[in-house]
Amino acid sequence: MASGSAPTSSEYVVHHLTNLNQTGEAQADIIDFSLINLDTVFWSFGLGMLAVFVLYRAARNASAGVPGRFQAMVEILVELVDNQAKGVIHSETSRKFVAPLALTVFLWVFLLNLMDLLPVDLLPSLWAFGLSSIGVDPGHAYMRVVPTADVNVPLGMSLAVLLMCLYYNIKIKGLGGWLHELFTAPFGNHFILWPINLLMQLIEFLAKTVSHGLRLFGNMFAGELLFVLIALLGGTATALGFLGHVLAGTAWALFHILIITLQAFIFMMLTLVYVGQAHDHH
């Protein structure tokens, strides 16, 4: 962005799609493990702490008498997750850990997704203002506030779910039992079928993990990008453009509220289903 002149539409969009990493520049390669997206880390950690704090307050002030509104809301949430967990995971000891994990995942992903409803330029312009007051060029003031629209967060979460599935597979079936299942399910125990079975199992694990993470990422990235494009309508600075911005933004934001909740719910359900599948014997 040249100093003093406004950005073009594609520069505006690209600016809003660039993460803040420790070099201060946009990422050059598609995969670069030396970079950390600091804005993603900050917002996901902060919102995770908020989710944990909210649940802690609810547990701390929980009373057995008539519940207040806040306690009732948290109880509804806990009951929702608990019912889903009971339906899918048939082991009481596993549920002791996985059900709270699913609750945390649901609340955390919901809060991360909720950041998408903030006005597109609100936090980035505050960040640019803060940076320019200490002398940094605001053209490099990148800030993306939706952590789930950064591909690292959903894929990281689904990778953690995969590790949990592997752990429960080995814990429930034993290492030998699980290896036996790797080579003999789904087609049967015959030495010609062993490589086919192994290939199918590996593909199944890979596809489940990748789709689990990328589903959330695709929804949130597309939603965020659409908000940025709608904001470009307002940037035309005409009356019709502004009207279009408000109408389209309202309609898309209302639809996006459904998408946010739905994607958080789906992520939680699939976490439960995949861990539950680790308990099943083929």
Partner: protein, 80 residues
Amino acid sequence: MTNVAFVALACGLIIGLGAIGACIGIGLMGGKFIEASARQPELMNELQTKMFLLAGLIDAAFLIGVGIAMMFAFANPFAG
């Protein structure tokens, strides 16, 4: 045709072809849900939860495609 034209065409194809599959899938599933609700209205709430879950699963590949198409439209990693 220039490279920019090819990228634009590719993005359109990714989104359009993906939308065909997703919309037909949602349509079929929604039709089955309404038919099931008409046959057994007492199951409607339980089935609705499952329907929304399935809707998210059906849309998954399409939205992943949209994400990739948007990335090529605005932050083409192969450009330059």
